[in-house]
Structures are given as structure tokens and as C-alpha cells.
Amino acid sequence: MTPDPVIELRNATKRFRASSGGVHTAVRDLTMTVRGGAFVAVVGPTGCGKSTTLSLVSGLEPPSEGVVLVRGEEVFCIPPGVGYMFQNDAVLPWRSVLDNVASGPRYRGSSRAEARDRARVWVERVGLAGFEGYYPHQLSGGMRKRVALAQTLVNEPEILLMDEPFSALDVQTRSLMQDELLRLWAGSDAAVVFVTHDLEEAIALADRVVVMTASPATVKASFDVALPRPRNVEEIRMTDEFLFVYREIWDSLREEVNRAREEASHRAA
């Protein structure tokens, strides 16, 4: 039931060279583990370092200090089986929807036809059937996000990093996508790290919600969400358990957000 952690960050620190010539610490002394098959949501004030944390796990950025382990091995390059849905649009403007989704299988050695077949399934699943031949600039923002989602999921990752994947979707599509995500995830052993600004979303989806401190990010608190699965995202929102957890996490988060604002004004003074 509780396998070894697939993701482990030990005192990970990440510094960036600030353009002023100084050093900006985005993540500091972050220790956190995610077990196989777990669904962890991460919330925290804007700009605290959530995206940076994901980039550490994905191996795209090396930590400045500390270690990052995936499946027990230290991360030096991108570990296999990782899927990462970026916060910003990362679809290729020069490829059609279908070819965008087929990118992953193509990169991983599938033949063109096979990759397209697999892609077609996913394009339909995210509700873009009929738009296969469109180029990204012909789609609305929400549709592009769905392309990105399909692009990531078509690789069937074991570790899924998602950086505010649904923030640009409309309410209905969003809850459909949330349900779809849960369904897909339930059928797999994938560990999910899901960054979001939407506390409701975090609670509705996750087994555990991690609250991050204001910048530099580190884990402030971690809350287990004991809501039963399978969940229907729409229904669960109105339950008492949900509201209780919501309030608890909210209090923790509010503190950090306020702190972030205060510090900003302090620095200005």
C-alpha cells in the first residue's frame, strides 16, 4: 500500500543569479517526499517557487544544494517516465494539434503512423476531436491547454508534474478534465504533483495538499485529504469534510500570502 517514495527532495535549495548581479533564492531547504501512486497538490503564494520545485524534480534544473531523488536515484538528467505540463504554453506553433500530441511517442521512437494513432485517441479524450489539423494559433487559450495536456498524457507517465494545468479552462471543461484526470490516474500507478492556485481544486483532487511558504519556498505544512475515492469533483465540493479541510488549509495559506505581501512592501521601504 505505501511503496517507497518515488520522488524525494532532501534539503533542496535552488538559487538563481539575479539580473542585478546578486543571488535570488527561489527554493530553500525543501524536504518533501511523494510515494508511488500518490496525488499531491501543492499550493502557495504567487512567485513563491512552486514552478521551480517542479523543475527540480523534472531534472530540468539542478539543485544548488541538497539532493533530488526519483525512484531512489539522484536526478542528473530527466528521469524516464516523467511527464511535465508546463505553466506556460509549450505547444509547438508549427505543428498541428495531432502532430503536437504525437510528439512524445515520436520522440520515444514510435513510427509516425503509430504515434498518430495514439495521439488521435488522446485528442479525442481532451475534447478536441475535429481540431486535429488546426495549428495552435487557430485555437483559443483553453483549447491550447488541452493540447498540452494530451501531449503530456499520451506518454503515460509514471510521475506526472502539472503546473496549473486547468487554470485557463472554462468551468465545465475544467471539471470534466478533473474527472478525466482522476479516472486516468486511478487506472495507473502514477504519482502526481499538481500545482494549483485553486484550493478547491487541490482538495477535490489530491490525497495530500502541501502548503508552501512565501519565497523562498519550503514546505510549510502538509494536509491529508481523507475524502473517499472514487470522487466526483462536482459533488464532493459541497460535503462537510471538504469544507473542514478547506478552512484548515486556507488558514495556513492565508498566513503565507499575507507574509509575502508584507515582505514585498518592507523591501520597498
Binding site: 530540468l60 516523467v82 508546463f86 509549450a90 510528439s103 520522440y107 503530456t152
Partner: protein, 292 residues
């Protein structure tokens, strides 16, 4: 375009857009093209007339020639031929040199530009050398190339090559550097090897930069071939112009320049067709809305 009559609306059931809308849009488009061509022709005509007049009444046609004389020379070349043989032969020779130099230079420029654009260390090491090489006057190089590669086609191709290479290189380099990091990261996570990142992300991203440079590069290739022919040759348009210069044949100089220009424009047109194909994925620039 016959496609203009296809109507694509997601909600075809409710669509009431009749084909007249499309037809109107198409005719507006045609009208616009006609206007553009009319203005262009007017400009050319105005320029030719004023040149003819000033050369007849005011300036010395010995230096400046005049359109009628240039036209006569062109007619002569294309009917009687030049003293070096058929004009087509001259064109063929120059074109061959230019196309070869262009192809090799563009290829080398793109490959090196992208490699250096993606590798900071290589770029830092090579940068001063490439900039230094770029500062070497081509006309001096052309003379050296004759010594190094002989009087044959190679030296002209080499001259065209260096001109094209640098124009393309700098743009490919910049294009490769400007690639969206997000796209690269996404591809890497999706499983792309370094090579695949290069071919499937960096190259397409840099395409608009590279194409921008190719537009001027073919002109450069022609110039390179001509400069090479100036330095020593037995055939070619450059030689033809050079001879005209030496023989006080101002109409010949201008006629030669016109032939070269027309070739460059044809090449340019081919490149534009290529560009349209390669950049199909891009939103067209402003003015594409149907105004009805």
C-alpha cells in the same frame, strides 16, 4: 484560389454565411493586388521616363546612359548574342556559380549558426574568429580565392559562399539563441534527445530568422559570383559587365545589372513560395480579416 469558396464554421448547422461573403472578400483581395501592381508599374514608368528625359536633356548619357539605349543593348544581347557568346550561356554560368555558392553557404551558415547558437562554450570560443572572418573584405578574398582555387568555377563559388555564409550564419545563430526555453524543456521532458530537440524545436523556431536571411542571401550569392568573375573569368554576367565598363559601354553596364536583378527577383519569388509553405503554421500578419 479555388479554396476560397469553402466555408469552415464549427457550427455548420446554424451557418447562414452565403458564398457571396466569400466572393466579396476574394474580389476585395484581387482589387488590392491590382492597386499594388498599378502603383508599382507607375513608379517604374515614372522612373524610366525621368531618367530618359534627364539623360537626353541634362546629364551626360556617357556616364548615366539612358533607358532606350539600355533596352537596345538588351534586345541585342537576347537576339544577336554577346561578344562572349549567347547571353543564356553567360546567365547559366553565373547562375550555376551563384546557386552552388548559395546552397553551400546557406547550409554551412544554418548548421554552424544553430550549433553555435545552442552551445554557449563553442559560441564563446568561436565568436571572435567568425566576426574577424566576417570583417575580411570580400573583394580581397576573391583575389585570394583565385590564387587558392584557380580560375575555374570553384573560386567564384567560394566568393559566393563566404558572402552567403555570414549573412545566414548570424541570423541562424540569433534565431537559435532566441528559441523559447519552454519549448525546449517541454520537448526534453517528452523524451526528445539532444539531436531531436535541435531538429524538431530549434530549427523550426529559427526558421523565420533563417528565411529572413535567405532573402538577402541569394542576392549576395549573385554578387559573389559577379565579383569572382570580375577577378578573372572567361564567361559570365560579371565579365560582361566588366567588359562593358572597360569599353565605355554604359548601356551594357546597366543592361547587365538589369539581367542580374531579374534573376535575383525570380529567385526571390521562389524563396517566397518556399517561405509560405514552411511558415504555413504562422498566423498571417494583419489585414487578413474579411471586411464585408
Amino acid at each position: 484560389m479555388p479554396h476560397d469558396t469553402t466555408i469552415t464554421t464549427p457550427r455548420s448547422g446554424r451557418t447562414t454565411v452565403d458564398s457571396s461573403v466569400v466572393a466579396k472578400a476574394t474580389s476585395a483581395h484581387r482589387k488590392r493586388r491590382a492597386t499594388v501592381w498599378a502603383i508599382r508599374l507607375a513608379l517604374v514608368a515614372g522612373w524610366l521616363v525621368s531618367w530618359e528625359l534627364t539623360a537626353t536633356y541634362w546629364i551626360d548619357p556617357f556616364f548615366y546612359s539612358k533607358p532606350s539605349a539600355v533596352w537596345q543593348r538588351l534586345v541585342e544581347w537576347f537576339t544577336v548574342g554577346t561578344s562572349q557568346g549567347s547571353i543564356w550561356e553567360q546567365i547559366e554560368v553565373t547562375l550555376q556559380e551563384a546557386v552552388l555558392g548559395f546552397a553551400l553557404g546557406a547550409l554551412a551558415g544554418v548548421v554552424l549558426g544553430i550549433l553555435l547558437g545552442r552551445s554557449r562554450l563553442l559560441a564563446e570560443i568561436c565568436a571572435p574568429f567568425i566576426k574577424a572572418a566576417n570583417a575580411v573584405p570580400r573583394i580581397v578574398l576573391a583575389a585570394l580565392f583565385v590564387l587558392w582555387f584557380g580560375l575555374g568555377m570553384t573560386s567564384k563559388v567560394a566568393t559566393a559562399f563566404v558572402l552567403v555564409f555570414f549573412a545566414v550564419f548570424f541570423n541562424a545563430f540569433q534565431g537559435a539563441r532566441e528559441v523559447d526555453r519552454n519549448l525546449v524543456n517541454n520537448a526534453r521532458v517528452l523524451g526528445a534527445s539532444r539531436l531531436r530537440v535541435l531538429t524538431s524545436i530549434v530549427v523550426p523556431s529559427a526558421t523565420s530568422w533563417i528565411l529572413a536571411s535567405l532573402h538577402i542571401a541569394f542576392g549576395f550569392a549573385l554578387i559573389g559570383a559577379v565579383v569572382g568573375e570580375f577577378t578573372g573569368a572567361s564567361k559570365g554576367l560579371g565579365l560582361l559587365i566588366n567588359r562593358s565598363q572597360n569599353m565605355y559601354d554604359a548601356p551594357g553596364i546597366y543592361a547587365g545589372m538589369i539581367v542580374i536583378t531579374v534573376i535575383a527577383l525570380l529567385a526571390e519569388w521562389l524563396l517566397s513560395v518556399l517561405e509560405k509553405r514552411l511558415l504555413r503554421w504562422r498566423p498571417q500578419a494583419g489585414g487578413t480579416e474579411v471586411r464585408v
